[in-house]
Amino acid sequence: MTVTSLSLPSRLWLAWLSAFRILFDGRFAAKVAELRVATAAREPELSAAPSSHAQPSAEPEPSPSVAAPAARAVPVDGALQLLSLLQREGRFVDFVEQELGKFSDAEIGAAARLVHEGCRRALHAHARVVNVRSEVEGAALTLEQPSADVKLVGNVAGSAPFRGVLRHRGWRVEELTLPTSIGGHDPKLVAAAELELS
């Protein structure tokens, strides 16, 4: 268990440093998800000395094929903590794992209310989630510059400015603080079985 607790902080540390590295490599790098992945995965150890690599960020030259994109390791511990949190507070796994077929909408509705309330409470206590765009959905919107925050759908062609209708306001996690794992507890155990003694 000590091995896990040692390697997790160092992984987080690397992820943290990598994020800064991306910032210093120019804003356009952030637009291309693949490039972001590639940059973060390829040279995390160089990022300790970022200042010498600082470049003016206004260079409008997206270069999407610097290296073959490599997938980042999924931070399993955080994902399991989130799952266990949603189960604890909102019975999330119970809900999703149960077959809906034989239940009436009223029964499903009653359960959904419970899951909604618990999961919402858990989410709000641990994350700050905001809309990417503040405009009303269905309103006309003009996008002056392409942006990674806004996905173009429909007749995707031509160049900026893009004129269209906002269909979804998007979500962005501004802050996230998840519980951390400690001790010999198996994080994969998102809910222990319960045995009631009388």
Partner: protein
């Protein structure tokens, strides 16, 4: 070693909180900051939260260690995990240790909690339970701010209910000293709330309060309700604050309200043939709290569904569905706990049954407005010279986050004021009702260093010892008791009461127990006054006090004449000493034990 920080600790009945402020920074801009407390929230899940639930859970042999970053082998847990386990395995959890601290009918150093613990648990006293909470705060602080080291190196301000008697204050300090807090000072919670308001308003507070104002602080927490009156007075041309009255200890709070609503919904479910087990009753309590908050924040809402999940992994099908209606919240919460009553209506006292289980002395009347009426009748609406109605009101405690409850209290109070021809009270806009006490305590730490305005007030009670008049024994008649005032009302920290001209006799080597009384209404008795009689309710009997003279230099069995002298320590606790009338050595004195168990059995301190 001189402290770098002042630390405010709210050691609450249901939650604790921690705030710090730097001492080193030059005046004015020293900011108070809340420190999040790392704690287990579920097995193996660690989280930092602003509040630490005041619960202690003892692990069973079948469980893995409740590891913390600073202790891999721990067999108990403090905080959210302990609170959650309270529903699942209640016999292994200590809750409300603080209420037991102020409960004089048991030996608070020896009495064992949890009450109905199974045999494998080594039970602990309310003092030790409080120590565990404080110790956890200390450990979490060290982990959060390693550069600042230990809380024992800092100045600690620990809050207690204004209604805590001298014994309960002593025991709180005992728990703090056990946690290593050598530089600890006590502060009354309603005062802390007012300090938090001053801190938060900056210089603006002076425009809200003027000399002549009287602030009523109403503090309703999870487990207790506390009232205080604080006057704004002019001291040498500058504005000062003076605490003039505190209320009785009322074991009544938000938990009672949630329980009441859960009972109402549970009753309805039972009528529909849906029986709930213990786990579902607890879940119902939580669900009702959520529903209550929604209904209180939106009066147009007619009802909110209350759904209890089945306990198994099959969520749908087994769920029990009930509802909480706006009208129920109105009638049970508002009319039950905050009824509109006349200023003369006093809380109903329920005679105690002949046989009672050991349990906390919960308030027998749930109407907080009646308790408020009783408090104001004593201190604000009476005929005494000091009696004056409040002009401003400050709300504190998590319960009063609900606007309709605040409005009801204000409306009721203003009704009473108008009847008396007084102007309605203004509301002082407080924020952060859960954390204000900890913040205010840290701010008070700065005030003690001359960085702001200090609330004067001294002790909230006068203290008396009972003296039995010599008279022949008569069957069925207890000898009449006179009360000798040893400490007058309003003694300030670090002061000594005038030595009263009295003489008491103590047998060397044998414990002598005195009856002990407190009064929050008799303000003009000087040390040494003897009361032959007093009005009912004026004096409250406290746990007896005890003195044992060591035989050193005297023969066991000798009778020695002593005088009692009271002082208030720098910490803010009452110290009673016996001084020999004919000392064998210079300054011969013995400390008197406060908070001894009823019945006069000595506790092994």
């Amino acid at each position: 070693m001189s402290a770098k920080l002042v630390v405010g600790i709210d050691l609450g009945t249901t939650h604790c909180a921690l705030a710090v402020a730097p001492l080193a920074e030059p005046d004015a801009e020293a900011r108070v900051e809340v420190v999040a407390i790392e704690q287990l929230v579920a097995p193996g899940a660690l989280e930092k939260r602003a509040l630490l639930p005041s619960f202690v859970y003892f692990a069973h042999d079948s469980e893995a260690a409740l590891a913390l970053p600073w202790d891999a082998e721990r067999r108990f847990a403090v905080g959210e995990l302990a609170r959650a386990r309270g529903a699942e395995a209640p016999q292994r959890v200590i809750a409300s240790a603080k209420s037991w601290l102020s409960y004089g009918s048991v030996d608070r150093r020896a009495f064992a909690l949890p009450l109905n613990a199974p045999a494998d648990i080594e039970k602990i006293s309310p003092v030790e339970a409080s120590f565990r909470l404080l110790d956890h705060l200390n450990e979490a602080f060290r982990a959060a701010r390693p550069a600042d080291g230990d809380l024992s190196a800092q100045e600690v301000v620990l809050t207690v209910p204004a209604s805590f008697d001298a014994g309960a204050r002593d025991l709180t300090v005992e728990a703090a000293l056990a946690a290593g807090f050598d530089q600890v000072t006590l502060l009354e919670e309603p005062q802390a709330a007012l300090y938090a308001w001053i801190e938060q308003s900056g210089e603006g507070w002076r425009s809200h309060l003027r000399a002549g104002d009287r602030v009523l602080v109403i503090d309703i927490g999870g487990g207790t309700t506390d009232f205080s009156l604080i006057d704004a007075v002019e001291h040498d041309g500058a504005l000062g604050l003076q605490r003039v009255a505190v209320g009785d200890h009322i074991l009544l709070g938000g938990d009672n309200m949630d329980l009441a609503l859960a009972h109402v919904v549970g009753q309805e479910l039972a009528e529909q043939g849906k029986e709930l087990d213990r786990f579902q009753v607890t879940a119902l309590g939580h669900a009702c709290r959520g529903a209550k908050e929604k209904l209180l924040s939106d009066p147009t809402l007619e009802q909110v569904a209350v759904v209890l999940p089945s306990r198994g992994s099959q969520l749908m099908g087994g769920a029990i569905r009930g509802e909480l209606r706006q009208q129920q919240v109105q009638s049970y919460l508002l009319e039950g706990f905050f009824p509109r009553v006349a200023a003369t209506e006093l809380p109903r006292a329920r005679p105690r049954a002949g046989l009672t289980q050991v349990g906390l002395p919960y308030a027998s009347d749930p109407a907080i407005t009646k308790h408020l009426a009783a408090f104001l009748a004593k201190h604000a609406f009476g005929n005494e010279a000091e009696a004056r109605p409040p002009t401003a009101i400050l709300f504190n405690g998590g319960v009063l986050k609900a606007v309709p409850l605040r409005s009801r209290l204000l409306e009721t109070l203003n009704g009473w004021l108008t009847e008396r021809g007084a102007a309605p009270a203004r509301v002082l806009p407080g924020e952060d009702l859960d954390l204000a006490v900890a913040r205010g305590a840290a701010y008070y730490g700065l005030v003690r260093h001359g960085r702001g305005l200090r609330i004067r007030g001294g002790t909230a009670r006068a203290y008396y010892v009972g003296i039995e008049s010599p008279m022949p024994a008569l069957p069925g008649l207890e000898p009449p008791v006179a009360a000798l005032c040893v400490a007058p009302f309003g003694m300030e920290e670090g002061t000594v009461a005038e030595l009263p001209p009295q003489e008491l006799f103590v047998v060397v080597g044998e414990p002598v127990s005195f009856r002990f009384f407190g009064s929050s209404t008799r303000r003009s008795d000087a040390a040494g006054s003897v009361l032959e009689r007093w009005r009912s309710g004026e004096l409250e009997e406290l746990p007896p006090i005890e003195l044992t003279l060591p035989a050193a230099g005297r023969a066991a069995g000798d009778v020695v004449a002593v005088q009692l002298q009271a002082s208030i320590t720098a910490v803010g606790t009452l110290k009673l000493e016996a001084l020999a009338r004919a000392p064998l050595a210079a300054d011969e004195r013995w400390q008197i034990e406060l908070s001894v168990r009823h019945g006069g059995v000595a506790s092994g301190a």
